[in-house]
């Protein structure tokens, strides 16, 4: 009894085009949502070309490149959408294609899950899909692997194209305040230290989010409640969500005051979103997917900022600095109902850079007007000085204080 993948028609068209356009083997990612009953594939995207590609006739795909692509693509998928697996288009019907697929799918899953800040749930689907299409014969072989078990055998699965796979998906969203303050260790406080401290802080924050109470359309629903009931079943539904948190944190030490070399705070608001498939989704799933998106969107942006800092590391002379995290921008997927993908735009980037990334990573042709930038505003450094007679103090608008040695 294998898994059954329902695949949006547009994906068939896309894969077909890839078959005809390229001479060399093409790899790529399959994106959608898995549920215990069924799996939905809503889009596919080819691995981008490597600039320094040594030879054109590469027989085996570049594992590192594919997994890096998967990592970047994961960041561009809102809650509910994830990389479900890998495809390869090659005339090679031999065993090494299957081996390559197996290696790729495990590598991709391992990399993506290693960056996750939430713990896997018992009801998570752990199967990933591999698809092999022979461009000449158009023969399609679909198999799944249970990525929890490195020794598992491939299981055959159904791959079925259908129209309307993406229609009537539900969407939950919210705007969430982020307010984290973590100490930096008592030494040189370089960026690497900041990274570790932030990751630890994010983990604690993520736990708080995941154990919070989720209200859907203002109500706390029992886990098994079907979200789309009655006449609305075939219509797309949008739900507003609220998240209520208990501030509790586990502490390892009893000492309430510890020495530090400084502190880092992350404050602002993020827009989180999750999509739910159209096959009787339940409140439990909705809550899980939304919370995961909340955690990922913050973690991703912090990670992106840290990556920027590390690559351009000019050890800043000033003792204190404020850095803006990128804002989240959405883009409607053509041929995929109302589903959107997203990207993160730094303050100094224009919309063109976003559309470029959408093209490179997701093979989407988007115009600047197609970008939805209304969900978040640019981060602002909103510090203003308040006359309190305190030396070297700055009050930030939501009441927190930071110290600046020079204003």
């Amino acid at each position: 009894m294998g898994r059954g993948y329902l695949v949006e028609d547009a994906v068939e068209k896309y894969l077909s085009e890839l078959c005809t356009q390229h001479a060399v083997p093409v790899t790529g990612l399959l994106i959608g949502q898995s549920s215990t009953q069924r799996d939905f594939v809503i889009m596919a995207t080819r691995t981008p070309q490597r600039e320094e590609s040594p030879s054109k006739q590469e027989t085996s795909p570049d594992k590192e490149w594919v997994t890096e692509h998967a990592r970047q693509v994961s960041r561009m998928l809102p809650g509910g959408l994830s990389v479900l697996g890998v495809f390869i288009i090659t005339e090679n019907d031999g065993k090494d294609t299957q081996t390559a697929l197996r290696q790729l799918v495990f590598a991709v899953e391992n990399l993506i899950s290693s960056e996750r800040l939430w713990s896997p749930a018992d009801d998570d689907v752990t199967d990933c899909v591999t698809l092999h299409i022979n461009p000449k014969t158009r023969k399609t072989v679909c198999r799944t692997f249970d990525v929890k078990d490195p020794k598992c055998m491939a299981k055959p699965a159904d791959w079925k194209y259908q129209s309307g796979v993406c229609s009537s998906w539900s969407m939950l969203s919210c705007c969430l305040n982020v307010d984290m303050l973590v100490p930096l260790p008592d030494n040189r406080a370089v960026t690497e230290d900041m990274e570790t401290c932030l990751k630890d802080g994010l983990k604690i924050w993520a736990d708080k989010i995941c154990s919070g109470v989720c209200l859907i359309d203002g109500k706390k629903l029992p886990e098994d409640t079907e979200l789309t009931t009655g006449q609305k079943r075939n219509m797309r539904q949008i739900f507003t969500t609220q998240l209520l948190i208990t501030q509790n944190e586990q502490r390892s030490t009893k000492d309430v005051i510890q020495s530090c070399g400084g502190s880092v705070s992350v404050r602002g608001t993020v827009h989180a979103r999750a999509y739910l498939h159209n096959n009787k989704p339940r409140a439990k799933l909705a809550e899980k997917l939304l919370k995961r998106d909340v955690v990922s969107t913050v973690a991703t942006r912090v990670q992106m900022l840290l990556e920027e800092l590390l690559t351009s590391e000019v050890e800043s002379k000033s003792k204190d600095e404020q850095l803006c995290l990128p804002r989240r921008v959405f883009c409607l997927l053509k041929g995929a109902g109302s589903l959107c993908v997203c990207d993160y735009q730094f303050n100094d980037e224009g919309p063109g850079e976003v559309t470029d990334r959408l093209k490179e990573m997701l093979d989407i042709d988007a115009a600047e007007e197609d970008l939805d930038t209304r969900q978040e505003l640019n981060a602002e450094m909103v510090a203003h000085v308040v006359e309190t007679g305190w030396k070297n103090c700055v009050f930030i608008s939501n009441g927190c204080i930071i110290f600046l040695s020079q204003l």
């Binding site: 705007c175 969430l176 982020v178 303050l181 100490p183 008592d186 406080a189 989010i209 109470v213 203002g218 109500k219 706390k220 609220q242 998240l243 209520l244 948190i245 208990t246 501030q247 509790n248 944190e249 502490r251 309430v256 005051i257 510890q258 020495s259 530090c260 070399g261 400084g262 502190s263 880092v264 705070s265 992350v266 404050r267 602002g268 608001t269 993020v270 827009h271 942006r301 912090v302 003792k319 204190d320 600095e321 404020q322 850095l323 803006c324 995290l325 990128p326 209304r374 969900q375 978040e376 505003l377 981060a379 602002e380 305190w390 009441g399 927190c400 204080i401 930071i402 110290f403 040695s405």
Partner: protein, 472 residues
């Protein structure tokens, strides 16, 4: 300085909201006044959070959630700001809501009405309508210190039957706000260099008209060091200055919070007290635990009765807040007697009996408490000791150990008529070997009222009457 609720404490409804609030800030410990300012500002930040629209109360065990600062907006829709709080009880699903007020046994009294406790969780809503600016990362590098503590907020508010959700919202937010002020005060008072004790909340049930009162004490600072604070509070609340009401041991146990050590408290309270013509009832004051044979995996059946009575008395001293020393074991009692020179070292580990003199000695040595000894040459004489025993319970209020012949018991009270001389004794019997079953213990008379014929009429008896220390 504390919140008081003047109401009959044993009826009605208490709303109790609990939840953690995180206090975090960066401090420059070289500048003490700077530190205090930053800590105060951080507390102010928490107070504004509690007063903000993000503050949420969730009623435990129910789907009810309300926003106290948003016109008491609530979910489910049936709850509005004008809903009486007591209606919340109908929304709460508990398995055993009737734990107090069970069907009565032979001698059990019925409680007039219940005290309901509604538990609320304090939470913060993290979501709000956007769009709003994306986050900013701020890095500050300075060798300094970081303060991070979790404040366990715990406010209890007594409400009357016509209080609505809106009324309760105001009361609770005020109480939380006030508690944060108290915590700030305690923190700043006890800030020394770079140590800061965690502020902890204690509830006390004070005599009328004070009622349920809440105090914040710094964790890790012993009661003995907090005498000044207690003195102020005693004055404020017009409490006598010679007995403790506000030591940590005196903290109120809410009716739905079982004692975790497993001992029964005050089993005599379910009894119906005898009515004698012109008689008055004089009882032990305060809380004691029932200690008896076979407890603590100690088989002292046949020899340990006086030890158990002594343990009951020690539990009274502990729970009234007179001492911090835990109830001693048989071995510790025996060792104490060796230490004062009353017994040989071989006494420790033996199964030898002790009497009231030994009880007096141990109370003195381990707890620093003095006791009076009363002697009756014949058991029948006890019937005429009504006045003295009544006086003891009035002025001292401690349990009495009585030993004579071959048995020891604990006297918890007397009913005595001055005119007729009739008397009954409230006896707690340490010879019970069963489990902590209140029904059995009271039905079978292990804790019960006895007439003067209970005593061996010809044997002599010694009574140890512990004196309560004068302290607060």
């Amino acid at each position: 300085m504390v919140v008081d609720n003047s109401q009959n404490p044993h009826t009605g409804t208490i709303l109790r909201v609990r939840g953690p609030l995180e206090l975090k800030c960066q401090l420059d410990t070289r500048d003490a006044s700077q530190m205090k300012k930053v800590i105060s500002a951080t507390f102010e930040n928490l107070r504004s959070q509690v007063k903000s629209e993000s503050c949420v109360f969730m009623v435990c065990g129910s789907p009810v959630i309300f926003w106290p600062n948003k016109g008491a907006k609530a979910t489910p829709e049936e709850i509005t700001q004008n809903t009486p709080c007591e209606e919340l009880l109908q929304w709460i699903q508990t398995d055993e809501q009737e734990s107090y007020g069970k069907k009565s046994g032979k001698k059990r009294s019925k409680k007039d009405s219940k005290l309901n406790v509604i538990h609320l969780n304090l939470m913060m809503e993290m979501t709000n309508p956007g769009p709003l600016p994306a986050p900013v990362l701020t890095r500050r590098i300075q060798k300094s210190h970081f303060l991070s503590m979790s404040l366990s907020m715990d406010c209890a508010v007594h409400i009357s039957s016509n209080d609505t959700i809106r009324d309760a919202s105001k009361l609770l937010v005020d109480a939380l706000n006030h508690q944060l002020c108290e915590m700030e005060k305690v923190s700043l008072q006890h800030l020394k260099g770079n140590t800061l004790p965690l502020p902890e909340v204690f509830h006390f049930l004070l005599p009328e008209p004070n009622g349920l009162t809440t105090v914040v004490y710094p964790a890790g600072v012993a009661d003995s060091e907090l005498e000044m604070q207690r003195k102020d509070l005693h004055e404020q609340h017009h409490l006598p200055d010679d007995r403790p009401y506000l030591r940590r041991a005196n903290a109120y146990h809410f009716p739905d919070e079982p004692y975790r050590d497993g001992y029964l408290r005050n089993p005599h309270q379910v009894l119906i007290h005898p009515t004698l013509e012109d008689g008055k009832v004089y009882l032990v004051q305060g809380i004691y635990s029932y200690h008896h044979y076979m407890q603590d995996r100690m088989d002292d059946n046949g020899w340990g009765c006086a030890y158990r009575s002594l343990q009951t008395i020690c539990s009274w001293f502990l729970q009234q807040g007179y001492v911090e020393r835990s109830v001693p074991t048989h071995k510790e009692i025996q060792q104490a007697l060796v230490d004062v020179g009353d017994k040989q070292p071989s006494f420790v580990g033996s199964r030898q009996w002790i009497g009231s003199i030994e009880v007096q000695a141990v109370l003195n040595h381990l707890l620093g408490a003095t006791s009076k000894i009363m002697f009756v040459s014949r058991g029948s004489d006890l019937a005429s000791k009504g006045r003295e025993l009544a006086n003891h319970f009035l002025t001292q209020g401690s349990p009495i150990m009585i030993g004579g012949g071959v048995l020891a018991h604990t006297i918890l009270g007397v009913t005595w008529s001055e005119t007729s001389g009739q008397i009954r004794f409230l006896i707690l019997d340490p010879h019970y070997t069963g489990a902590e079953d209140l029904q059995v213990i009271t039905d079978k008379g292990w804790c019960g009222w006895k007439g003067p014929e209970f005593w061996d009429q010809t044997a002599y008896y010694n009574l140890c009457l512990p004196q309560k220390p004068k302290m607060i």
